[in-house]
Amino acid sequence: MLATLRTLWKALVHRNRWERDLADELRFHLECRVDDLVRQGMPRAEALRQARLEFGAAVSYGEQCRQAHGLRWLEELRQDLRYVSRTLRRSPGFTAAAVISLALGIGANSTVFSVVNALVLRPLAVERPDNLYFVEPQIRTNHSIPDYRDLRDRNRTLAGMAAYAIRVMSLERGAGAERVWGYLASSNYFDLLGIHPALGRFFRAADDRGRGANPYAVLSYNCWRGRFGGDPQAVGKTVHIDGFPYTVVGVAPRAFHGTELFYWPDIWVPLTMEPRIDAHDLLDARDSHIAWVIGRLKPGATRQQAAADLSAISMELAREYPKEDEPQKIALARPGLVGNAVRGPVDAFAGGVMVLAWLVLLAVCANLASLLAARAADRSREFAIRLSIGAGRGRILRQLLTESVVLGVLGGAAGCALACLLADLLSRWRPTPDFPGGFEIPVDWRVFLFSVAASLAAGILAGLGPARQAWKSDPNQALKGGGTARRGPHALPLRDLLVGVQVAICAALVACCFVSVRGLSRAISTSLGLQPRGAAAVSFDLDMAGYTGDRGREFQRQALAAVSQIPGVKAAAYADAVPLDGDDSGITVFRAGTTDFRPRNSIAVTVYDVSPGYFGAAGTRLMAGRDFTWHDDAGAPQVAIVNRRLARLLTGSENAVGARFRYDGGGEAEIVGVAEDGKYASLTEGPTAALFRPGLETYNGTTVLVGRSSLPEPVLASEMSQAVAALDPHLPLYRVGSLREMQRLAWVPSRAAVIALGAFGMLALTLAVTGIYGLSAYSVSRRVREIGIRVALGALPRQVLACVLRRLAWLVVAGSCAGLAVAWLASRVLAHIVYQASSHDPLILVAAALTLAAAGLGASLGPARRALRIDSASALRQE
């Protein structure tokens, strides 16, 4: 094999020398033979003749040598490439159309693939990533720290386990505090992952000296470069995190962004520092599920064994601690996307978009194939001539395939460039300004390999049909029939089939696109339970800035007053979170009079702690009852406002004002108001129960200030942040902007689906239009003579059109029906991603069908006009 490659390499590089050597060698042989014959007494001229005779056909043997050397195919390939580049240059329009459509198709595919690669295929940048698993309990994704310790110490199947939790931290190094995303990580975290620091060292198990006693921080590479200017002296420096001093011990390697793809930390601190970060000590709280856990399998242990082992321990724990732990199974999932909880939907979405991209590529191939088929048909005479003068069918076939593969490779190269561009754009895109860390879409060897494979596959796929046509063509027929191949009336020619497929794919994509666009527009118009237009928000965390209960409450009041005084502000309030900002928290409540507090009697609700005036500021309508007042504080009877859904769940009617309910864990509250229903965690959620509590009853340092005014939203946001900064310039503010911006994350899935479907739909529509145009133009041009005869015999324009377009119309109708059927099935899946997407909407089916009909009509308009203008006299004179 190596020898083959070497000789091939030599032959490629030293082509001329190789040929010269071959000639020299054969000449040497002849000369030696002549010398020998002369020595035996033969006259020289006679000896020369004799030697040539004995040698045989030198040219043929030379060719055999070349072949033996593996050079013949190379020579032919070179000829083919030259031939192809000549023919492609001769028809630049065709070449451009083919290359551009392939570039779009392959570019779309490679881009989608690079996203799939980044999210699904690429392992985490740790040692032996295949051996690392996310330890995922059945009920929720996280564990309490005591449970983690027990799982870690009692299991027999894992070589090690580490815990980590995501926290927002305030990082202070001299000038002011910044809000950063950090991981609380167990001290064996880095050792378990087996990564090596870019600078300094990591904290490790040996550093552990009990809670709060190892204030070490590890910086991410980005944080080190961005916030510390890449200063090598950063290691050893002291920084303040949430007001407490930490020593920076090291910097993580550049490629390592933590163990969750969507949460890139700026900083890691040991889990034992949790009491400092959270302001409550949860290290021994078995009922506080705060950490995600990863583990490595022991050599020889399987994933199933480990899952069974951990589940058994979990059952044990539930028996030992019946109050805190529920009996639950534990699974091992691939790490990176919070186990299967997030990975499932992400995988499904990525897979769905990949399928779409393939469909588009298939349409591109069909388009290219029909273009190539038309060319092949036009060239059938040329092929026939070449066949009759002795060219091999295989050679012609290979030439056609070379042509389509060359087109595929050209289109693939352009597509790859396009994908690099798009992947770079996507890598820089952030759904919200506050999005933790980054989202990396690298164009690596997998993407490259995929593009190459897609290009070659597209080239071969598109070339096969036309090649088959050329293979089967009969030179006699082709020459006699003036190039028109005869076929039976019922045969479905390849080109028709290809256009049908294109139309079907296009119909499916257009319909899916309409379904999701309509869903999105409905989502925009349906009530979110608040009115984002005209509202802006500023967030800050008083706990991080060192405020305690009373001072914090006072500051919240002052900030609210300052914002209310901004000219033009009509309403202002604060809350611990606002709906759809991705920071929703939940509790459970019971109906009044419940005596059986088992989970099946509980009602899960999303809960918000809001100040008086919140409903006016957020634009949430109160259906009945009253808003909170400044007297609804800790000293007053507990009151609450519920949404309509919760009112119905608690009392059976929406007239719930005056009714009471119980909190899980004790305490009752009176319902004083009923608010409209809304969306809280995601746009696609079903009706959700929500509960609003007076923010004055319980203090919460996480504060979202909401203001509503007639000012433009960005202006209001910046004025609000100035007003707050005037009160405390050191308080880090985040998520400053319109309410809509805060909620942007909630719109990401729908938007992504609409953009992807829209882009692919447009692409498919363009392809279908060109395909239909190509077919109709071609069929008109092939039948000029026939139409001329028909016109001469008195055919009416209507009949001419019918004869040209009937077949096409059938193709469009059949293709559309098939496509719409596929779309109908696909939109059941879509409904999970896009809010209110529904395929049972006759409007969408009608709209998609109309779009395709219009596309078909538009595309065949030109050729149809040409068919009508055919003048029988000149048409018959042709040829």
Binding site: L2, A3, T4, T7, D21, D24, E25, L26, F28, H29, E31, C32, R33, D35, E54, F55, G56, A57, A58, S60, Y61, G62, Q64, C65, Q67, A68, H69, G70
Partner: protein
């Protein structure tokens, strides 16, 4: 002229390997040596030698180097590589088994079967 035999398919490669194993040779030399060691028993189309040589070179069984011949001309010399030596040994064994079996079969007389 002595009676000569047609080459069986595949035997030319073996003959070339054997000839070259006796010392590096150029193409014409290989031809002469085959004639010499076979006692002139084979009829070989002289040109047919070269595709075989090139094939064996590509398979890595023969190495090549340009040198100067005994009559002072530039000539391409073939020598056996390690892989070639191994192939020659295994082919020789195979061939001997084949001829022994053929000989035994053809020597059989009525009554022996």
């Amino acid at each position: 002229m002595e009676p000569t035999a047609e080459l069986l398919p595949g035997t030319l490669d073996l003959l070339i390997l054997k000839a070259v194993s006796l010392g590096a040779q150029h193409g014409y030399g290989v031809l002469l040596r085959i004639g010499q060691i076979s006692g002139g028993g084979f009829r070989i189309d002289q040109g047919a030698l070269y595709p075989a040589l090139y094939r064996l070179e590509r398979q890595g069984l023969l190495g090549t180097a340009w040198g100067v011949s005994e009559n002072n001309r530039r000539a391409k010399y073939y020598r056996l590589t390690a892989a070639g030596r191994k192939r020659l040994r295994s082919e020789t064994d195979g061939w001997q088994r084949l001829t022994a079996a053929m000989a035994a079969a053809l020597a059989a007389r009525p009554g022996e079967a």
